[in-house]
Each structure stands twice: as C-alpha cells, then as structure tokens.
Assembly symmetry: C2
Homo-oligomer: 680 residues x 2
C-alpha cells in the first residue's frame, strides 16, 4: 500500500468531521425573527464581499498562470499547480466562512438556553474552518503527489501549489483585514468616542459592516493564512527532503530515499489531523461550566492533540526508516508553537501585569496609553524570538536544514484544532453583537460576552502560533530556495555586499508594507466615519432610536475600499522578490528573504501584542478599574484600542503571509534564477 | 613631516574656532534680571545632572578598565585607551553643554535686538559643540597614534578608545533622553492637556526641568552620539586599512602601506574640519533676514563644506598614494548623508504632504493621528535604506569592505558644521522658553519661535544624518570585527544556523531596548505628572499666577529617575554581544551585529520620523489649519506629539549608539574570541 493513502484517509476523516460539525450547526435553532434578519444581513454582506474578492482573484490567478506557463523553466504544469493551490485555498476559506456566518445567529439563539449550548455551537462552527483547512490541504497535496510524483520537474511543480495558496492568502488577509478594521474603527470612533453610545449599538450605521468584517477578516482571512502555512511548510520539507534524497548537498542518511522525502511530511501532517480530531472530541465541559473550566477544556484538547501528534510523528519516522534525529526537530517545533502561544497570552491578557500596566497608564491620558502599549508590544518579542532561535538550533543540530523545515510541519501538525479554537472567536463575537442588536436581555449578553472573552484568549494564543509557524515556514522555504537555485554554503556570506544589501532591503519591506496597510485602513475608516456621521446628521430620529440607519451603505463602502486597497500591497509583495532576484541576483534575494523574515517576525509580534494588550487594557478598565466605563482613563483606553485594531488585525497578520509569499515566490522562481547573477 | 601633523593642525584650528565662538557668546548681554535668574536655574539643574551622571560613569569606566586590563589578550594599554576615549567624549559633551546653557539667556536677550542677533548668538553657541566634538576627536586619535603606532598590539588598543567614547555616549543619550522627555511629556500632559495653559507657562512646575532636559539630552547627548560615530568610523577604517596593509584578506593595492592605513581616515577627517570651518563662516545673512534666507544660509554652509571635504579627500588620497577608487566610496558616503538628511526633512516638515496628512487625520481623533503618524514613520524608512544600500554597493564595488568604512568617514567628515546646525536648535528652543517665562512682549517670542522652527528643520536633517552615519559606522565596525577575529568569507553564511540564530536575536534587541527606554520615560513622566498636579493642588494661587511653583522638585525627580533608569538598558547593550560571542560563538556574533544594525536602523528611522511628523503635524494645526489651537483636532495632535516625544528624542536616537556600541564591544572583544566556538 502506498503510504500516501494514510494521508488521504486522514484528510477524508478531517473533512468528514467538518461535515458532521457543519450539519450540527445548521440543525440548530435559528432564533427569533430579529436574529435571523441580522444574521441574514451579515451573511449577505460577507458573501457579496467574498464573491467580488474572488472575482478579482480569479483574474489575477489566470494572469499569473499564463505568465508561469510561458516561462521556459516553469511551464504548464507549474501553472496548473498554481491554479489548483489557489482554488484549494479559496475553497477552504469559502466553506469555513459560510458555516461561520450561519453559526453566529444560531450561537446567539443557543446562548439563550445556556452558556454551554452557546459554546458548543460556536466551537463546532469554528471546527469546520479548522478541519476544512487541514483536510483540503492534505488532500490537495495528495492529488499533486498522485499526478506528479513521476514528473522529473516536480521540484518546480510542487511550489506552484503553495504559490497559489499564498496568493489567495495575501489578498484575503489584506482585503479582509482592511474591511474588518475600517468598519470596526469607524464604528468605534463615531459611536463610542463621539456619540457616547455603547459597542454594537443598533443606531450605529457601521455595526453590520463590523460583523461582516469579522467573518471576511478573522475567519476567511485567518483560514487562508493558516492554509498557506500548512501547505507551504509541507512543500518546503518535501523539497529539502527530495534534495537530500538525491544528495545534492544535504546529509543523505536523514532521508533515505525519494519515498521518505515525499511521505514523511505528509504522514506527520496526517498524524496531526487524527490527533486534532481526537482533541476536538476532548473539548467538553459539564452543564454548568465556569469560564476557567471552558478555557481548561480547550487547553486539554489542544495539548492532548500535541502529545498525540508527537507520538504519531515518531511512528511515521520509524515506519519510513528515516533518521530518528528528525523526531527531535519535530518536537522542537511543536513545543515552540505551544510556548509562543502562551507567551502571547501573557503579554495580552488582562490577567497579567503587562496589560494591567497599560490600563494604569491610561489614567494620565491617551499619550501614555499608546506609549506603554507600544512598549509592551516591543518587549513581547523576547520570548517568541528566543523560542524560535532555540527551535531552529535544535532542529538544525539534529537534522540540518531539513530539520528546520520539518520542525515547521511539526508545529503546524495540530492546526486542525488550533484553527478551530481560533475561528470560534469571531463566531462568538458576532453572536454577542447580534444579541445586543436584537435587544435580548442583559444576562444573554453576559453569556456571549463570556464566550467572546474566551475567544479573545484563544485568538491571542492563535495569533502567536500563526506568527511562529509563519516564521518557521518562511525560513524553510528560503532554505529550499537556496538549495534549488544552487547557492553553496559559503556563497551566502554576510561579508558579500549583495547579501547585505538584500538583507537591508528585506528588513525594510515589512515596515513599508505595514505603512501601506495602516494607511489603507486609515483612509477607509475615514470614509466610514464620515458616512456614520452623515447618517446621524441626516436621518431624523436615529439618535433617539426611532429610525434605523442604512447599514448597507457602510458595508458597500468597506467592500469597495478594501478591494481597491488590497491590490498594491499584495502586488508589491509578489513583485519585490522578482525584482531583487533579477536586478541584484540570487544571493541578494537570499539575504533579502532572511532580512524580511527576521524583521517581519519582530514587527508581526509587536503589532499583534501591542494591539491585543490595548484591547484588553480597555476591557480591564471597563471592568471597573481606574475609573471604569466613561472615565477619562476609559476614553484613553478606547484610543489605544483604536490604534491597536489595524495593527493587530490588518497589518500584523498580513506580515505572516507576506514573508511566506515572498519566500515561495522565490522558490517558484528558483529554476529561472539558476546561473544568473543580477545586473550589477 | 609626519602627515598626522595635518590632523593635529586641523584639530587645533577646530578648537580655536570653538574658543573664539565661546568667547563671542560669553561677551554678549546676559539680559534682564529675570532672564539671568531663569538661565541660572537651567544652568544649575543641567550641571548638577551632568555632574552626577559623570560620577556614575566614572565608577563604570574604572570598573570596565580594570576588567579590560586583566584580560590577557587585551591588557593595560587597552584599558588606558578606553579611559582616554571616555574622558575625551565626556569633555566634548561638558564643554559644549556649558556654552549652550550660557547661550540660551543671551540668545533671548539678543532676540530683543533683532532676529539676526538671535540667530548669531544661538548658532555660535551650537558651533562650540560641533567644533569641540571634531577637534577633541581628531586630537585624541592623534595622541593615540603618537603613543601607540609602534605598539604591535595596536589593533586591540585603538578600539578601546572607541569603546570608551561609546560607553559615555550610551549613558549620556539614554540618561539625557529620559530626562528631557519625561520632563517635556509631564509638562505637556498636565499643562496643555489638563489645565489648558500654554507651552512654557511659568505656572507649570516642570517647565525648568524641560529646559534642563533640552541641554542634557539634545546638546550633551547628541554631542556624545556624534563624537562616537566620528571616532568609531575612523577607528574602523584604520583597522580595516591596517589589515589590508598587512594583506591578511583584503586587496593590498587599496591601501599601499601601514602609513596610508593610519593617515588616510585622519586626513579625510582633517580635511572635513577645515571644510566645516570655512562652511561656518559662510553662514551669514543680511540684517533683515527672512526665514527662507536663514535656512538657505545654513544650507549654503553645510553644502559648501561637503563639496570642500570631497575635494580635500581627493587630495589626501593622491598625497598618500592610495587607490583613487577609494574616492568614489568617500563620495558615496558624503552624498548619501546629505540625501538621508533631506528625506528626513521631507517626511517630518509640515511644508510637505506626509505631515499635513497627519494633521488632517487628527480631525477624527487621537487614534487616527497615531495610526497615520506611525504609518508615516514606517514609510519614511524607504529612502534612507535605499540610499544606504546604494552607498554600500558603490563603496564595496570600488574599494571592498574598506570602502564601506571610509564611506562612513566621508559622511561624517563635515560633522563640525552639521553638529553645529543641530546643537543650535535646543539653544533657540531654550531661549524661546526663557522669553515666555520672563514675560517679554509677544514680538520677541515670535522671533525666538522663528529660530526654534528653523532649529526643528535642522534637527530633523541632523537626526537623519546621525542615523545614517551610525549605520555605516556600525557596519564598518562589524566588518572590522570579522576581520580581526579571523572569520573567513564563506564562514559567515546565512545557511549556518548559528549565524541565523544570531541574526534573529540581533534583530530583536533594538525592539527590547526601545521597550525599556519607552517604559523608563513613561515611569519618570508619571512621577512628574503627579508632582505637577500636586503643586497645582497644594500651592495656593499657583493657577492664578500669584504664587511660583517649586521648579527644583521636578528637576530633582528627573535627575534621580534618569540616572537610575539609564543603567539597565546601557548595561544590556554592553553585555549582550559578550554573552552571544561566548555562548553562541564568533559567527553568531557576526550575524547578531548585522541583525541589530538592520533592525536598529529601521526602528531608529521610524521612531525619529514618526515623532518628528507628529510634532510638526501639531504645529501645523496650531497655525490655524483643521480648527487651529484649542480645537479637537489640536487635542488629538497634542496626543500625537506626546507619543512621539520619547520615540524621537529618547528611544530612537539611543538606537544609533546602541548599534555602534555593540559593534565596538565586539571589536574590542575580538582578540579574546579568536579560535573560540561557543558553548553549543
């Protein structure tokens, strides 16, 4: 039996679980007339956005496929692999979001029964996303294997799939991120700051756009991001494994043959899917759960999945006769992933002192809120960087650069459950908003608030995990690039001026990218603010609650602006490595990638954690500390949250994709760059 | 005749000009009783701070000297060279600040006569600082030459001098930076935001501390920073030149002999001093000057100095028989320095759209002010990074790594005049404050405001120049380190896991450093805010202007806090390269330095330009745009300024020193690290 069958079985099981969970969600009570109406509005906006986004993407994908097809060293198969990767990623995002937009209203209705009902519906909704990502990912790669494993050009064809997935991811993350944060910021600034009305107030015209944004950004965007990491890390490992098997530069004893090169990352991933499925079933609590118990249930699920995944990885190595040292590399990746998530939680949860200090600083105004939150974000880079450094040193010492790549696969193997706990958050968040808008009694809102708060914790952990895994994946792709293009060890020297020049340019690009995405959110939210203000001014009786705002207008503004604004940053991300590679040469491109990975990693952690801690510092004040809601400290806290929103949900997460995308573009380009040396 | 005599003559001429300018300033009218009283209070506070700072520094210097003295591969001469470097840097800062604190009151008095009088006194005050830095720098290095040029251990001894200068610089910049911004932020938040009283209002208890801070931070701190760049770039060039002359790895034809290795950087620097002296005398305007004419006068001075310095450098190369290709490297450095300064001005002046867009964004509140300013800072990294990349590629292509080092010397050769135009700013700023506090008529304040505004432009240009030169200097030191420790070209490979691990850790450290310094300013300003609030609460009649606040209390709080807070970040900067070098090995340390330089460069530009543009966006609003003073947009602008203050004047500039200091620590350590390989 071909061992790839195990991967196929795992993928099918993952999708079966997704289907089961989806059916469960769809069978739930849709709630009152008002809930259905609101849920329908969100659904309509989200689908309209995704549809238009995918239409633009389709044009882009076809154009790039034609270019790939006509390049002599790449050709038709690479182009088809690229299209296939794009379709798989788009499909995972589409299915996941479709369930999420149906789960939000049902979670609101379930929360009317009990907290536990609410948790179950929302977590199962999130599970669909997680399982779709891993299931479609591994099945897509299995199909690639069946079709191409005898093609002599496979080293060029497989990365095409990852490039397709990465392209969809950048557009989805940037577009979705701009949508969600422009709507959120716009709603907050006019609603909370200017008019003094609460969050999710039905009088706020941007409130539905805000909910739509959660789905297109935090569900579909996050899913595309993690799909990219997942398949890219496997592809990088396959590439390095194949090079090792053909013994070009790597230690042949690590990966004994071509079969092991193909199968090892697939089997580690397959084991992770099985482990995740078991983990999902371990997430259960009693009928009257406390928040602590909920969090523990989620933790139990993810940690059990990690332990099981490690065990399965060990078996896979034994089964394929690969070097047992590889196991330590996988373990290093798995452990680093879990610990990076925990460190993110420490720096952003109001249960710990870093975030509480930001709340305290809010007493002296918005200026000190911003400075202390930004300092916290910068400081929070310490544990993730040290953890990644330890992981790559261990991985390298035990299994050379192949170890670094498979450490990434190890870290991502439990993605099925980690993405589930992550995608659950926006469903709960939406549900809370729907409860508020439909005027349900405050105790129901308290329940959805509890779910939302739990979701914030899992989102923080998930964000750290996403950044860490993106860094390892990008590093693995960069190493694959150097091997395919044939860069020798001593050539990629920091004493070579081209490498240093590339490194500086690479370190700069994430900053430029963040500037562009921050400005895009700023411009879009400016339009939203003016629109919400206009509606308050022109619609009679709106402030008094006697008239309804025109929600659709804000959804429309966000859609148009996000689709327009996502283009330039995405195209720059794809274009820059091509320009560097041809103008400054393949060595400069190697330095460029490493510079971008290091600087992107640090900026991504800073942005995510500064944003997360501002958000929770505001929530801590809202719980009654330092003056509570409505105090000057609270106003300062709201400013902090407004600043953090685009940092943590648009620019920061987009960096994850950026570093992977630039690395895989380079890998795809590698066959064309062989033997070139730049223009200068 | 020993060519070093030319350097000595240039140094003496520089100091003579400094003495002449100092005498001119001291002969000026000291102004009214009230002006003298205020000036005396500032002088007293600044001298008390510097005295206590130097006492702490003395303990540190003696302790480090003992350690250096007992390390076998270093020894007594390195220790003495270190002490000598520290004394030279301290002396330059002490003299420069002493004149600046006497020039402020005299500028206020001179401004009563005319704008031109005010400019002359303040610019001449600043010139003392600039000329002291270059004069003491080149004379100190000449003394080193006379004493040690026959010592076989000179490659270890010269960097000791730079290490001493760098150590003083980090304490001075961090300590002074914390002092100045804690006082400034504290004064602004209580005065402008809470009490609604204008800037520099005599009722504000922190106002004298704010003036003291300008002197200890922006004059003494900036002077120490540039002194460090100046001598370190020469030292790096000497080191690489000597290695080239002894033909270990570099092209021997570049630097034909040991004499050329010693003399070339010294003569380029000497030529720059002469050029700067000529430039200073070209800064003159008619009796009724407009602002544009003032700026043009300063520009004419610095640009003429640059052209002359290039000419002198050409002659020096000819005279010493070195390769003419070196000239192109020097020119690349000079031109890049000028252009980086101009790009900083573009991104931070309200004459251009980036800053005006921040003012516009302030209409929708503090949140959008912060996001757009931060985005502007990130975007502003584009030109400096590209300019540095072009400069190092040109320098390298023409003269190998020696070219990179001497490009730094070229960029810094006109430091005498660029530092003068920079140090003039805080003198004018102080003078404006004294005019306000002593109740002089508004037309006098208008004149000092004009001088201050010009100072802001030169400060922006100067900051860009400081960052660019720090980057080139640190890069040159890092290259020297690799050559002294004997790292071969192919060893420092980005495919080596130690190098990559070092690179990640290095890229992280500037972020951690910024977090620490931002928090230090936050904590200190928190104490100041509480003290100013307390005085408003407890001193009867203070708000009504019937009683005086206790200015000394705030000065005292700032002094104690700044001295305490400067220790940990400074010691971490010195300690980390040592730990990396011994634990992860010399290769990791090479990667570490380059990671820190790239990330530090980008963060420094971002922080400086975000801060500068927030400051000027607020000033643009104050000129009457988007609602003008007192409007909501103005309040948002003030928040932006408060956030930017510690970024642009504490954390950002400290990064310049940090990257140079870590590089020179590594260079000093290099003889000890030869042949070691880390613990793992």
């Amino acid at each position: 039996m071909d061992p790839i069958i195990i991967a196929v079985i795992a993928g099918v099981l993952g999708l079966a679980l997704a289907g089961f969970m989806a059916l469960y969600v769809l069978r739930q009570d849709q709630g009152s007339e008002r809930i259905r109406e609101l849920s329908a509005a969100v659904k309509e906006g989200a689908l309209a956005f995704l549809g238009r986004e995918y239409r633009i993407l389709a044009i882009f994908v076809v154009a790039v496929a034609i270019i790939l097809g006509v390049i002599p060293n790449l050709g038709l198969w690479v182009a088809l692999s690229f299209i296939f990767g794009a379709i798989c990623s788009g499909l995972a995002g589409f299915i996941g979001m479709n369930v999420a937009i149906r789960a939000n209203g049902r979670t609101a209705a379930a929360a009317q029964k009990s907290l536990n009902h609410g948790l179950r519906v929302s977590f199962r909704g999130g599970t669909v996303m997680g399982m779709c990502v891993v299931g479609i990912g591994i099945l897509g790669l299995s199909i690639l294997y069946f079709v191409f494993h005898n093609n002599p050009n496979f080293l060029a064809i497989i990365p095409g799939f990852g490039f397709g997935a990465s392209s969809v991811a950048i557009f989805a993350r940037v577009g979705g991120g701009i949508f969600t944060k422009a709507a959120d910021t716009g709603a907050d600034i006019v609603g909370k700051v200017e008019k003094g009305i609460p969050e999710d107030d039905p009088r706020n015209a941007a409130v539905i756009a805000d909910f739509v944004g959660d789905n297109v950004g935090d569900v579909a965007g996050m899913g595309a991001d993690l799909f990219e990491s997942y398949v890219d890390s496997i592809i990088a490992t396959m590439t390095l494994g194949m090079i090792a098997a053909f013994s070009i530069t790597l230690d042949k004893s690590l990966v004994p043959n071509e079969a092991a090169a193909w199968f090892l990352p697939m089997l580690v991933a397959a084991g992770g899917i099985i482990a995740s499925i078991i983990g999902v079933f371990l997430v259960r609590v009693g009928d009257k759960p406390e928040m602590g118990a909920l969090l523990n249930a989620l933790r139990r699920g993810t940690l059990s999945a990690s332990v099981l995944a490690a065990g399965f990885a060990f078996l896979a190595i034994k089964f394929l006769g690969a070097d047992l040292n590889i196991f330590w590399a996988i373990l290093a990746g798995l452990v680093a992933g879990v610990l990076i998530g925990e460190s993110t939680n420490y720096f952003t949860s109001y249960a710990y002192s870093p975030t509480r200090r930001i709340s305290e600083a809010s007493q002296t105004g918005a200026g000190t809120t911003i400075v202390s939150g930004f300092a916290n974000g910068l400081m929070s880079t310490l544990p993730p960087v040290i953890l990644i450094v330890i992981a790559i040193i261990i991985a390298y010492r035990f299994a050379d650069m192949y170890g670094v790549a498979i450490a990434g696969v190890g870290m991502l193997s439990t993605l099925g459950i980690t993405d589930a706990t992550d995608a659950y958050g926006p469903v709960a968040d939406n549900a809370g908003g729907i409860v508020e808008l439909s005027g349900l009694p405050p105790e129901i809102r308290e329940r959805t608030d509890a779910l939302d708060s739990l979701g914030n914790t899992t989102a923080a952990t998930g964000k750290g995990f996403a950044i860490g895994s993106a860094t390892l994946t990008a590093l693995a792709l960069m190493l694959s690039y150097t091997q395919v293009v044939g860069i020798k060890f001593g050539e990629l020297s920091l004493l070579d001026v081209d490498v240093v020049a590339g490194l500086f340019l690479g370190a700069m690009l994430p900053a430029i990218f963040c500037a562009m995405t921050l400005n895009a959110v700023g411009r879009t939210s400016f339009s939203i603010i003016n629109e919400v203000r206009r509606q308050f001014r022109e619609i009679k009786g709106l402030m008094e609650g006697e008239a309804r705002p025109e929600y659709g207008k804000c959804v429309d503004i966000c859609t148009k602006a996000a689709l327009k604004e996502m283009l330039i940053p995405s195209l720059i991300t794809i274009g820059t490595p091509i320009v560097i590679g041809f103008v400054l040469g393949p060595l400069a491109l190697g330095g460029f990638l490493l510079g971008a990975i290091a600087s992107g990693f640090i900026l991504a952690v800073t942005f995510a954690n500064a944003g997360g801690s501002w958000d929770n510092a505001k929530k801590w004040i809202e719980k009654g500390y330092f003056g509570g809601k409505g105090s000057d400290a609270h106003k300062a806290g709201v400013v902090g949250d407004t600043v953090g929103d685009p940092m943590k949900d648009t620019s920061g997460p987009s960096l994850n994709i950026m570093i992977k995308l630039m690395s895989i573009v380079s890998l795809v380009l590698a066959p064309v760059l062989i033997g070139t040396s730049g223009l200068f």
